[in-house]
């Protein structure tokens, strides 16, 4: 097999990288060692901070990957060998047999019922059993069964019941030879089993001590308890649950020194969901620092507290079972300085994120380095986070270090952009030829209906023949057939032949779910020369036979009605086209800071043309004001210079400095931006406008005394060198942050204070540094270690203060006099300071309100742009063609910024390299004869697809931007908008078909 890119690991990162590449026309092989792709994300119940249902948002991505012609998915497979170099790797992949032919298996599950073997389900964290022949979870991709060879007793019960004949015990595993140009490693993580390192918490010993993933499955509606949290000891719901943070993280002796980066938030999520479901439940989180650092995290944490989740600062020393079976937690409440014992029903351990178990072996095969913990090492942690130590191999997601989902998928897109480098000169797959289509617009509807038995899955519970018979008399129906498996290969031939023979122009299949099966039948229609939208399905399996299996008569009646409704709809279907519009290779990158420069570089290196506009007179953005870059000692300005230099070397990048954007009009493929009076035409736009410090006003004496500075001013002073000989320097973190008006966390302030503290200690070893903080939020790779290092320095004193007890600074004296209440020691302290440095709250750039209007996008109250989806589409805006990099999305450190910038470049290149973008087939249309220009619909469209045409006084929908939700069709007060495929008349006809007995559908 010869392909372009190999991706190892089919979790959300791997899937994202695969999609990014495949959509550009590169051929990708996605390998996963499990029977299904999906990784860890699909096991989660919900995701923070939006409480999105995890499987609901990841399953469509997986399905998208499986449908993409450019992606070959190899599950149950592992990498065995690799030779060659970037641009030409030869890989050997060991593909284990599942003993079930995936092309034949329909996923009906008959075999599973027959199988006598029960083993603990890995997917369910062994909280429940699965069979010897199984799918990991209902949304598995591929949705075909696997025989677990190790546990199979060879009884062949499954083979006997499989009507489709998919099971073959003689099948063997095989070695696949693969040639690729580059490789992305996305092996994810595993959760620590807290029994060895943290045995004092009683995991494995007491049944009601769980790890977080187990709790996640208990919460999941599709989990072993159907979403009910029940104690393992007695099957009863707990009255109190406690979460213990940092189990195995942030601790050299008993685990890993690093911060696992996600636990604070997932336990907040678990606690607040549990509390929300049962307000009487007592929930408490035992933590050291609550690291709610990301976009909307702090607000999520605040909400949890409001709901009544208790947060206790302290690291428990042990958990033991009392004689009454309850669990006692011993801990020191560091806020009160007391040693206490709390008693609860259930304990959840927020156990550490560990490197994936196969990393060792894989690093040897691929010949790339691991860090001391077992994560893959970046070529340069700060400046090349997605490059591995070997050319042509890149890193995505938690394979490199623990990350949350948006950071993982951003990095995955970044890795996809990097993986293009060795492939730049390869030919990509172009646009697929359109198949010729019969024009049916003038024909009367001639509907063909195919009713499926689905083996016994439908036929056992309702009378398929009767359904078929009843359908025959419906007006417009000219052909009815029933088949054993409507989705089988032979059945497709039957459908195609029937289309020809009976000159059918609409097809209805009464079978299973359109969500899984419609595309297959739609392909068949296309092959027979019919537009794929002349198709409708009625789900007489999932929504009928399976759920009414005890009442065949009524189920048959319902199946008839469902089919009648589908026929009513089919009659009204018309051919829809997915409009294509050309997208060229020109991008406008707004903002010349590190994010903008990196995006521009990445785009340019892949052959795209970039206009990079910067409002200042030189490139560099914040890098020009910072001294060094946390968590390294890299000189920020040198770094800026080197990046600017590289930008200057690129022929494809045009830089406009001191730029003012006067206007932007248009949409993807067709933007016109007016910059300094010049009109520039581009195809896509990347926003890299960064962030800014909020006004310090008169906080902590700012403005009254020059020795009170903001963090950025202090960085400037440090690089200027003129600090004199300070004896005491005080850093105040969270100034203007985590308070009611601006509740969010600035994400970078803590790290910045730490690195400046270290710098001062290096320059003035005798000076004392005080860091006044609320929670120490350092979470990235090597950040916790850096913190520990600074903390180990006796001259750096950490004081914890709370919101509402802001330190006071008296100015005008020889020294600044600072008063603070340390809530760990519970005492007031006074410090004579030479400098007081304010880590200011950060907010979106001042250009946001203007750009927002021009691009019809929105921002959050902090002024950061609202991405298309907080978890899975952090780099895109809802309107296609606009992308986000760096601080414009949310403040982040350099390493995250650069990874995200690469990712934004990758996203922008998707339509640009493909050369076009496609509209949905199902979109809405405005009848401009009717539209009265009331502007009701305009703000309703989540994608800014509707505009008011002032000349005609009507609303206009830009087809390519419309995603087809149909909101506008519902909003229009005079019915001037209709949604194709879901026209008002069609919906009404379905209602009538369902309810009116003799209604002629």
């Amino acid at each position: 097999m010869k392909k372009d890119v190999l991706i190892i690991g089919g979790g959300i990162s791997g899937v994202q990288s695969a999609l990014d590449l495949a959509e550009k026309g590169y051929e990708v092989v996605l390998v996963d060692r499990s029977p299904s792709i999906g990784g860890n994300m699909v096991k989660l119940d919900k995701t923070f901070p939006t409480n999105d249902c995890s499987i609901c948002i990841s399953a469509p991505k997986m399905v998208e990957a499986s449908r993409n012609d450019n992606i070959t998915i190899l599950t149950y497979s592992e990498i065995k060998d690799l030779i060659g170099s970037a641009g030409g790797f030869d890989v050997k992949i060991w593909k284990r047999t599942k003993y079930v032919d995936p092309d034949i298996c329909t996923g009906c599950g008959d075999c599973e019922t027959a199988c006598p073997v029960e083993v603990p389900s890995e997917f369910e964290q062994k909280l429940s059993d699965r069979k010897g022949i199984y799918v990991e979870f209902p949304q598995s991709v591929p949705l075909t069964y696997t025989i677990d060879y190790d546990n199979c007793v060879g009884c062949a019960a499954c083979e006997r019941v499989c009507d489709a004949g998919a099971i073959n015990f003689l099948d063997t595993s095989q070695v696949i030879d693969l040639e690729v140009g580059s490789i992305i490693v996305a092996t994810g993580y595993q959760m620590m089993q807290p029994d060895e390192w943290r045995e004092e918490y009683g995991y494995g010993k007491y049944p009601d001590v769980l790890n977080a993933m187990e709790y996640e499955r208990l919460l999941s509606a599709s989990g072993p308890t159907g979403g009910k949290v029940l104690k393992r000891s007695d099957g009863k719901p707990p009255e109190s649950v406690a979460w213990i943070q940092c189990v195995g993280s942030r601790c050299k002796q008993k685990g890993m020194p690093y911060c696992s980066r996600v636990c604070c938030m997932y336990s907040t999520k678990q606690a607040s969901i549990s509390k929300g479901e049962n307000p009487d439940l007592d929930t408490a989180v035992y933590y050291m620092d609550l690291r709610a650092y990301g976009k909307d995290f702090q607000q999520y944490y605040d909400k949890a507290k409001d709901k009544g989740v208790r947060y206790l600062r302290g690291r428990p020393s042990r958990v033991y079972e009392q004689s009454d079976g309850k669990l006692a937690i011993e801990y020191e409440d560091t806020e009160k300085g007391e040693v206490k014992t709390d008693v609860v029903d259930m304990v959840v351990l927020s156990s550490a994120i560990l490197p994936s178990s196969g990393n060792d072996k894989l690093s040897e095969i691929l010949d790339i380095s691991l860090d001391e913990y077992g994560f893959f090492e970046s070529k340069d942690m700060l400046t090349a986070p997605v490059d591995s130590t070997r050319d042509g191999i890149y890193l995505a997601g938690c394979a490199q270090s623990p990350k949350d989902i948006p950071d993982s998928v951003s990095q995955a897109s970044g890795a996809a952009a990097r993986a293009l480098m060795p492939l730049r000169d390869r030919k990509r797959k172009g646009r697929a030829e359109k198949k010729p289509e019969r024009d049916v617009s003038k024909e009367e509807p001639r509907i063909g209906v195919f009713v499926c038995h689905c083996g016994k899955n439908i036929a056992n519970y309702l009378d398929v023949e009767e359904v078929a018979e009843a359908t025959k008399n419906m007006p417009g129906v000219v052909h009815v057939d029933d088949s054993m498996f409507a989705c089988s290969e032979d059945a497709q031939t039957v459908i195609k032949d029937a289309i020809k023979e009976h000159h059918l122009n609409r097809i209805v299949v009464s079978a299973c779910s359109p969500r899984t099966h419609a595309p297959l039948f739609q392909d068949t229609l296309e092959e027979a020369g019919l537009n794929r939208y002349l198709f409708e399905m009625s789900n007489i399996r999932n929504h009928c036979s399976w759920v009414h299996s005890d009442d065949p008569e009524k189920a048959t009646e319902k199946a008839k009605l469902l089919t009648k409704m589908a026929v009513a709809k089919a009659k009204r279907l018309s051919a829809l086209t997915e409009e294509e519009i050309d997208v060229g290779d020109r991008t406008l990158v707004i903002g010349g800071g590190p994010a903008g420069m990196e995006t521009a570089l990445s785009l340019s290196r892949c052959g795209q043309k970039v206009t990079l506009v910067e409002k200042e007179a030189e490139l560099g953005g914040k890098l020009r004001r910072l001294n060094t870059l946390f968590p390294t000692d890299i000189d920020a300005r040198e770094f800026a210079d080197s990046m600017a230099h590289q930008v200057g070397d690129e022929k494809n990048i045009r830089v406009i400095l001191s730029a003012e954007i006067e206007d932007i009009e248009g949409y993807i493929g067709n933007y016109t931006a007016t910059v300094n009076g010049e009109e520039i035409e581009v195809d896509t736009i990347v926003l890299a406008t960064g962030f800014k410090e909020i006004e310090a006003e008169e906080r902590h004496g700012y403005g009254k005394d020059p020795r009170v500075m903001t963090q950025l001013e202090f960085d400037e002073a440090l690089s200027g060198g003129g600090l004199g000989k300070p004896e005491n320097v005080v850093f105040i973190n969270c100034v203007g942050a985590l308070e009611e008006e601006r509740p969010w966390c600035c994400r970078v302030g803590c790290g910045n204070s730490l690195k400046n503290a270290k710098e001062i200690k290096q320059r003035y070893p005798d000076a004392n540094v005080y860091i006044l903080y609320k929670d120490m939020r350092v979470f990235g790779k090597r950040e916790e270690e850096y913190y520990m290092d600074v903390e180990g320095d006796d001259g750096v004193i950490f004081l914890r203060y709370s919101t509402g007890q802001e330190p006071e600074v008296v100015t005008g004296k020889d020294k600044l006099q600072l008063k603070v209440h340390d809530n760990l020691l519970d005492e007031d302290l006074e410090i004579d300071a030479d400098y007081v440095v304010l880590a200011m709250q950060l907010e979106g750039d001042e250009s946001a309100p203007i750009l927002k209007k021009m691009l019809k996008i929105s921002s959050d109250p902090a002024g950061f742009y609202m991405e298309a989806h907080a978890k899975l589409r952090p780099l895109e805006l809802p309107s296609e063609g606009v992308y986000l990099a760096g601080g414009a999305h949310y403040p982040k450190n350099i390493s995250d910024t650069l990874a995200q910038a690469e990712g934004a470049a990758s996203k922008a290149m998707v339509p640009m390299m493909r050369g076009y973008t496609k509209s949905e087939g199902i979109i809405s249309v405005v009848d401009d004869e009717l539209c009265s220009g009331c502007k009701m619909c305009i703000s309703v469209c989540p994608y800014g697809a509707i505009e008011h045409d002032p000349e005609e006084g009507v609303a206009v929908i830009t087809d390519v931007l419309c995603k087809g939700c149909g909101s506008c069709a519902s909003v229009c007060p005079i019915g001037a908008i209709d949604q194709k495929g879901y026209e008002n008349d069609t919906i009404m006809a379905m209602i009538k078909a369902a309810l009116l007995e003799d209604e002629v559908v």
Binding site: P861, E929, L930, C931, S932, G933, C934, K935, M936, I938, S939, V940, H948, G953, S967, S970, V971, C972, P973, I974, G975
Partner: protein, 323 residues
Amino acid sequence: MSDKLKIGFYWCAACGGCEISVLDIDDMILDVVEKAEIVFWPCAMDPKYEDVEKMDDGEMDIVFVNGSIRSDENHEMVKLLRQKAKKVVAYGSCSSIGGLFGLGNLYDNDELMEYGYNTPSTDKDGVMPLDDNMVPEGDLHLPGLTHHVRPLDEVIDVDVYLPGCPPLPNQLEEAFPALLSGEVGKYDLISQKSVCDVCPLEREEKKIPRLYPIQEKKLEAEECILDQGVLCMGPATSGMCDGPCPEVGHPCIGCNGPVRGVKDQGARMASALGSVLGAEGEERMDEDEISEVVKSVRDPTGSFYRFSLPTSYLRYKRRDLHE
């Protein structure tokens, strides 16, 4: 006899405004009289029931009926007129779409009678009108109320609709010549565009955090009233009136009913307003907060259906909650 068209006017449950509106056309009345002879007009002449009965079927060319169907008499009379007329025009909103009286459908007749005759606001508590009254002249029978208020077409076939409360001169200037020359389709006199189309006020894309009662808001004269947070039915109302209300700063109250082709004005307005109201920042609101926003729409049923309840899907109050 001339070859003039014979036309008639009749009122059912009406306020009289429609009758007066006929005179609003000023000089044009002369054109009308030139082409047509008014043979039946209870408001201006004094014809008797028998006079109509005596007419041949189809004797009148056009009969304009205003007012809604509220009593047995209305019911009976329009059936007779239908028989005697070649063409029936539903004149005004009451006959076209039920009209203001249609709000009576929010109550059943007992409730209405109770309110009308037995609340502190009435003169003599508890004295109900009798169906039959013996008076010196003989036995007087009052027509009973119909079960609910109906538009004309629920009782007889209608050839042309001319909604408006009442139809305005500009509508009539278009309608009369067309009607008299016979070239007008059933719905031709209903605009398919809304009041917003003709409204001169400056409007924005709708970002309305909540609604306010009109008395609580000082309105800017040039700006869209709805944009300012005060309910205006303009978006869902047929605009053949040319928007005189918003033009002088008064919100459209929906008197023309829905645009051509739309059945249910109130449902459309609910859909539109429900979609846009309080949309900004919705992701940060909990369900209670959103419900508060919804509650800022005071009396949605009464406001959205002020003129069109009898032609809506639900038409009149049901007894589902009574059981």
